[in-house]
């Protein structure tokens, strides 16, 4: 009784603030009145009235995951889902352009890269909904992610629905167990011993590359330099400026200069994997979840394995958000809610080895046949560190200017 009272009190206090904050221009529902408890009651009718929902997916390897979700969603609610694969950066720019022109967004529910938060929120295209607080299926959501993402407060509007991890992947048929590098120093030594067999993704062309350069910087920089590196209050422009001009990064550039003499720069996350599959490379920078997709699609050998380097490599996640200018915001919320349901998250974990931000699911539920392709427990989650994507992007651009173009 007292708990509901407090809850009521809380919502009534928070309501004006939420109402003022909400930027969902096409939402018929008064968000301030929506709680986890009455969510379905209020939102389902609104969503059915909208009748359809458009979703964007930025991750090429996630197509079949969303197919599964859409199937469940359409069966459950009878609301049609229009699905599009998109290019992340381009879709972001599209939302911004449409928003600035004062038009409706072409998308309602957007599965977006975890690094997009600063851009999407600062430009006002992110639907300002406390999803993690009002969607019923977020009741077991990791509290660390519920209000913050990569050091920024999002108030629940930018929930990660999938966690992923950058890693070093190798073909164990060619790399012996005792040769597997354990640190960045090991890595360069291995690369020099096996010239042109290590693939480093170009940061501008893939997150496994920008994750790698950020991890390297985290491992190399200390003191004030490191503080700057992890200061998530900086904007992308500030990060770019710093990365272009600072001397802090000299050791990083030196590392890359040395590495580039013996390693291969690849054209993207998939290119790295493809070359490993072609046995042209035996080791490379990868995303854990993409590796899984490629193994399932027989685009990687069964002997492929993953590891993390000391003192850590960045982990990330991708968010499912409502666009501020969404035409069908209620249906979008409903779709996101279903994406976080325990059943679906469990399916995703089992079938795609996609890690979940739900606290009641963990990797032990993955079947052992699949688990061998994932990061071993010895390194994960111990060596997973947080990322500041705008800084990672800035480092990638600076790398282009400082090392690659010379």
């Amino acid at each position: 009784m007292s708990r509901t009272l407090i809850a009521l009190l809380f919502t009534s206090v928070a309501a004006p603030a939420l109402a003022a904050d909400s930027n969902l221009k096409n939402l018929d529902v008064d968000l301030s009145k929506v709680t986890r408890e009455n969510f379905y009651e209020v939102v389902v009718p609104a969503a059915k009235k909208e009748g359809t929902v458009t979703m964007y997916n930025f991750a090429g390897s996630f197509g079949d995951v969303w197919k599964e979700l859409i199937g469940r969603f359409e069966t459950k609610y009878g609301i049609k889902v229009a699905y599009n694969d998109v290019n992340l950066d381009q879709a972001n720019q599209q939302l911004i352009a449409v928003h600035q022109a004062g038009q409706d967004a072409p998308v309602d529910a957007f599965f977006a890269g975890g690094g997009s938060f600063p851009l999407l929120s600062s430009t006002g295209v992110l639907g300002n909904v406390p999803l993690t607080k009002i969607l019923p299926n977020f009741d077991h959501y990791d509290p660390a992610l519920a209000e913050n993402v990569f050091g920024r407060a999002h108030g629940g509007a930018f929930p990660l629905v999938h966690l992923n991890q950058t890693a070093i992947g190798y073909d164990s048929a060619f790399v012996k167990a005792d040769e597997v590098p354990k640190s960045f120093d090991d890595l360069i030594v291995w690369a020099e011993k096996h010239p042109k067999q290590l693939g480093i993704t170009l940061p501008a062309k893939g997150g496994s590359g920008s994750g790698f350069i950020y991890s390297l910087a985290l491992n190399t920089l200390t003191g004030e330099c490191r503080a700057k590196l992890t200061d998530t209050s900086q904007t992308l422009e500030q990060a770019e400026e710093w990365a272009m001009s600072t001397d802090c990064l000299t050791p990083v550039w030196d590392y890359y200069r040395r590495l580039m003499k013996s390693a291969e720069l690849t054209n993207g996350n998939a290119d790295t994997l493809n070359l490993i599959n072609n046995q042209k490379l035996h080791m490379g920078t990868v995303w854990e979840d993409q590796v899984m997709t490629f193994i399932r699609g027989k685009q990687l050998p069964d002997s492929f394995r993953l590891t993390l380097l000391e003192k850590g490599q960045v982990g990330s996640g991708d968010a499912f958000i409502v666009a501020a200018d969404a035409k069908h915001p209620a249906a979008a919320m409903l779709l996101i809610d279903l994406a976080m349901s325990k059943e679906f998250q469990a399916w995703k974990l089992e079938n795609k080895a996609s890690r979940s931000p739900r606290t009641d699911l963990n990797s032990s539920q993955i079947n052992p046949e699949t688990a061998q392709y994932l990061l071993p427990d010895a390194v994960y989650p111990r060596l997973s560190t947080s990322v500041f994507w705008d800084m990672a992007k800035a480092l990638g651009e600076a790398l282009d200017e400082k090392v690659l173009s010379n």
Partner: protein, 285 residues
């Protein structure tokens, strides 16, 4: 009303309006927009900063040279293949008709598919590499290689039929008697080719060169897919910038790319006019 309609100038304007008007609006406006945006800051003040940046940042400077390289190199490769090819397909040989139909196939193949084909065929560990591995050889890196061979081959693959088509018809338009005359006056086959046929086919050849140069210089998909990860041409940098919302920079690059294209066009006109308008009779009908 009828009188108005019969006014020849009005008639002309009405006739020109659809085509020229369309291009003015949907081509002129964005171009002008891009030009204007490339010259102002975020706050709208005039600046040359974006151009300065394009000409001073190492990656951009490299983008400039790479664009030129991706424009020129495929043209040379295609030319080196198309001219002999168009000479050969004038000969009669078994299956000439079939070949004549088939060689144009790449004209209908989208460049994305061309890129896919090159990847499948020639990438590291791709088909050719595997075949060669069986005889103990290995294919040099020609896809996403630093020299951009993959881009050059893919562009050339797309261009050769187009170029051959134009060059063949330029050659075909040369009266047979001129060839015979050259031979009768003591020119060998090679001399006839170099001194009579090539000069007369020049307008066709140079137009083909120009179009393919511009086509491959401005193309995005091919260098993005089969080009080396670093050393990206302006077109790729433009799209990257566009995706990241760096519009002023993108417009400045676009203007530079356009300036290149226009410079080449002007050079072409000056050149053909210096050779003399009579050279144009080669493809006059």
């Amino acid at each position: 009303m009828t009188a108005l309609f019969n006014d020849r100038r009005l008639q002309l304007l009405l006739l020109l309006a659809p085509g020229v008007g369309y291009l003015l609006f949907f081509f002129g406006t964005p171009l002008f927009q891009a030009l204007r945006e490339s010259l102002v800051t975020d706050q709208g003040d005039f600046t040359l900063m974006w151009y300065q940046r394009a000409f001073s940042r190492p990656s951009m400077v490299r983008g400039l040279t790479t664009s030129l390289y991706y424009g020129l190199a495929p043209v040379f490769v295609s030319l080196a293949l198309s001219v002999p090819l168009s000479v050969l397909i004038r000969q009669s040989f078994i299956g000439r008709k079939l070949f004549n139909g088939l060689y144009k196939l790449p004209l209908a193949v989208p460049s994305l598919i061309a890129a896919l084909a090159v990847i499948i065929l020639a990438e590291q560990g791709g088909f050719l590499d595997r075949v060669l591995a069986h005889v103990g050889l290995s294919l040099p890196k020609i896809v996403r290689d630093d020299a951009g061979l993959g881009v050059i081959f893919t562009s050339a693959w797309k261009q050769v039929p187009f170029m051959t088509l134009i060059i063949t018809s330029a050659f075909a338009a040369i009266p047979e008697d001129l060839r015979l005359a050259a031979r009768a006056f003591g020119a060998s086959r090679l001399q006839t080719f170099l001194r009579v046929e090539v000069p007369l086919a020049m307008p066709g050849i140079s137009a083909a060169v120009l179009l393919t140069f511009i086509g491959s210089m401005g193309s995005y998909a091919i260098p993005d897919l089969v080009g080396p990860p670093s050393a990206r041409p302006l077109s790729v940098l433009m799209v990257e910038g566009f995706k990241n919302g760096k519009f002023h920079e993108v417009y400045a690059m676009g203007m530079i790319l356009s300036a290149f294209a226009i410079a080449v066009l002007i050079a072409y006109y000056t050149l053909t006019h210096r050779i003399g308008p009579q050279a144009v009779t080669g493809d006059e009908r």
